[in-house]
Symmetry: C2
Subunit: 427 residues, 2 copies
């Protein structure tokens, strides 16, 4: 099918099928594209976003008006909203991705067999990545850029409420691809608000190699339930900070306050604080003082309630709740065993931290807490691809299989084995 045929196909299934074929073909070109060509496309796309500021913001105003009329909340409208500063951030992010090293072609390991066969494991793109996301239109540019950098074709399905903004941003990405001589189908936006598109994408086993959902828990759960394709999912960030008996009190208060309150709504924000009973008298009052002063609601078990009348009683549900807000559940524990058991039971295997001066305790925590990221004497808010040095990220995978943790361009790759012989045959 030509691009014209894709655009005019009247059946949504047909259109997506045609996009799938085009993506697969584009992915073959992309997998062979040099770093220079891909980075050139990203720079040109950034320039195009800057040059198209008026058009993008105008499309965004259209989205905001429609969403407002449909009764969207202020928080939702804020996620849809673009302005000049945010748009410059979007353009800058593309340049940041371009500045990262190209993961494709890296020789991950190599060895020679006794029979003389030389084997290399070489990093290659996955193929075609499907991204399904919600209100934030910047994901269109971020996700498209990360896929391009990693040599993958992208099929993007943005939220219908920011459809106009996403279309305008996708135009800029295409301008970049054109300038670099790359196929337009390297980054395709599903050209409809029709919600049926999500279900259809989840069944495109032939054309999409992996699905990355980004958004609220209900979207992620739906994708995990329905997808017939592997999913890289960030389900939940129910992160813990654990103040061990041997923690320095001043370090504990500083790290815990940042872990919760720097930005309470990010996935790496601490949702539950565990404090060793032996450290409660010395450490907890300082921590509670800081939290209340910064406007945090604290929900505690009975032991914690004794420390401050402002502590609200915690229910069982609190230990399983990702607040994404200025709320913290706090519990006293009888030492590291109980802390680790609590985290492995109630946590989401995302990010958990211990504060302690006892190196052996930290090592036990590292070994036994079954989470993608475990930290010692640092804020859980470092759970972020950028903070890890990955450049941009497309999310933090809470699955157990790789890629686990922050997913940047390198994590959207696979590998192949290249074997060089001199006429070896197998006995």
């Amino acid at each position: 099918m030509t691009e014209l045929q894709i655009a005019t196909a009247n059946d949504l299934g047909q259109r997506l099928h045609a996009m799938g074929i085009a993506a697969r073909m584009a992915s073959q070109v992309l997998s062979a594209a040099t770093a220079e060509v891909k980075d050139h496309a990203l720079h040109e796309a950034a320039a195009s976003i800057r040059a198209s500021t008026k058009a993008i913001l105008s499309a965004n105003r259209g989205d905001l008006e429609a969403a407002g009329q449909a009764g969207a909340t202020a928080a939702f409208l804020d996620r849809v909203r673009l302005d000049e500063t945010r748009l410059e951030g979007v353009a800058k992010a593309l340049e940041d991705v371009a500045a990262q090293p190209d993961p494709v072609g890296e020789i991950m390991s190599e060895w020679t067999r006794p029979n003389g066969l030389k084997i290399q494991r070489v990093r290659v793109p996955i193929g075609v990545v499907g991204i399904i996301y919600e209100a934030r239109p910047n994901v269109t540019a971020d996700a498209g850029a990360i896929c391009l950098k990693s040599g993958n074709a992208a099929i993007l399905r943005g939220g219908s409420e920011s459809f106009g903004s996403s279309l305008a941003l996708a135009d800029c990405l295409r301008t970049g691809l054109r300038a670099a001589g790359l196929p337009q189908a390297a980054i395709q936006l599903v050209p409809t608000r029709d919600r049926e598109a999500v279900g259809l994408m989840l069944a495109m086993t032939e054309f999409i190699d992996v699905i990355v959902p980004r958004g609220g828990k209900s979207l992620i759960e739906r994708v995990m339930r329905e997808a017939r394709i592997p999913v890289i999912a960030h389900l939940e960030g129910l992160c813990h900070s654990y103040v061990h008996a041997a923690a320095d009190p001043q370090m504990a208060r500083k790290v815990v306050l940042n872990a919760k309150m720097r930005r309470p709504g990010v996935c790496g924000a601490t949702e539950t604080l565990l404090v060793d009973r032996a450290a409660a008298l010395t450490h907890l009052p300082l921590i509670l003082h800081d939290l209340f002063r910064s406007g945090c609601e604290v929900r505690g078990d009975e032991d914690v309630q004794r420390f401050d009348p402002r502590v609200v009683p915690a229910t069982d549900a609190d230990w399983s709740t990702e607040y994404l807000d200025a709320i913290l559940s706090v519990k006293l524990v009888d030492g590291i065993d109980q802390a680790i058991a609590h985290i492995n039971r109630y946590g989401s295997h995302h990010t958990d931290a211990i504060v302690t001066g006892d190196a052996a305790a930290a090592e036990r925590f590292f070994d036994e807490v079954d989470s993608a990221i475990v930290l010692h004497n640092a804020s859980t808010q470092f759970a972020d691809g950028g903070e890890f040095g990955f450049g941009a990220e497309i999310g933090i995978s809470t699955g157990r299989l790789p890629p686990r943790g922050p997913v940047g361009a390198e994590q959207l790759t696979s590998y192949k084995y290249v074997v060089r012989g001199v006429s070896q045959i197998r006995p």
Copy 2:
């Protein structure tokens, strides 16, 4: 639930649920087990197999009789059959797995951030692996051993026709676990012939982290279609050997004959031979001569038929058929572009080889053939975890996401990020 409760639960769903809980708990012990302890269990299991030869072979005779009465084919009965030699091979395989390096705990990479955070990516087990397989009872031991080596708990669902043999082998594995002080639930065999168990396992999202099906295409397809859990699947090995114009004729005939006829039924056997038109006159007669002499059926396009009256006409279906037999489809191509296009279109992205004296052609083949394993001047039959140096393998993954290619103990692992700070907070 206790082991007794598991054994006596009368509802299959309840029993599997209890097995899942036990496996998850065992996986926590396993992930912390040292290499010495795991290897000790493997050696003791091998010893137990040798000591239990009579009992295992007796159970196997029971399986064979029942399968024979049910009308199983000779080929099927051969897959079920164990004898002293095969059983010694099963025991030896456990010792081979024990002799491999322990993948768990390896620091895969480490770096320090500008803020001083020290980040390590550390290899960890996945958790609980579900293996669903068919007639060959040796998989019970092989799969159990690879999972144990990689620190994963295993839930094994063997074919009902070799159920008695698998039970006897699982007993030996448990003897090994007990001797090493590891939980019995580290390797569990689903204790029923009931076929419903497969469907139930595929939905155990809470307790099984990845499913590995081993068997015929219909089993693999069913698992891929129904599983609500990530799958590591070996779907098909439609492998190609491509004789390039610059191939040495003697090397080509030697490599091609081995690639097809060493063992025509293995997944790495070549199913289609592509020969450059420019090399047909010089190379093809030698190759065909060897193939016919070794009893191979050759199906060729019209060009190939001209070379020998014994060549059977190939139909379109032949290019998409994994024969797993002494049959080879042969096609002339107009050079490397056409060869690569054919392989990417008809192949199964498993293993493909080029024979050529032209290094640049080999590099193009490596870059553009989208398969897990690409070889230059070597037989496709090297597609095997053992031949790669991985020790035993649990299969060859034809998916695009990692693990791709041969799956040994290392490929059944994941990783976590360990972050060491000195009270860093995120600005």
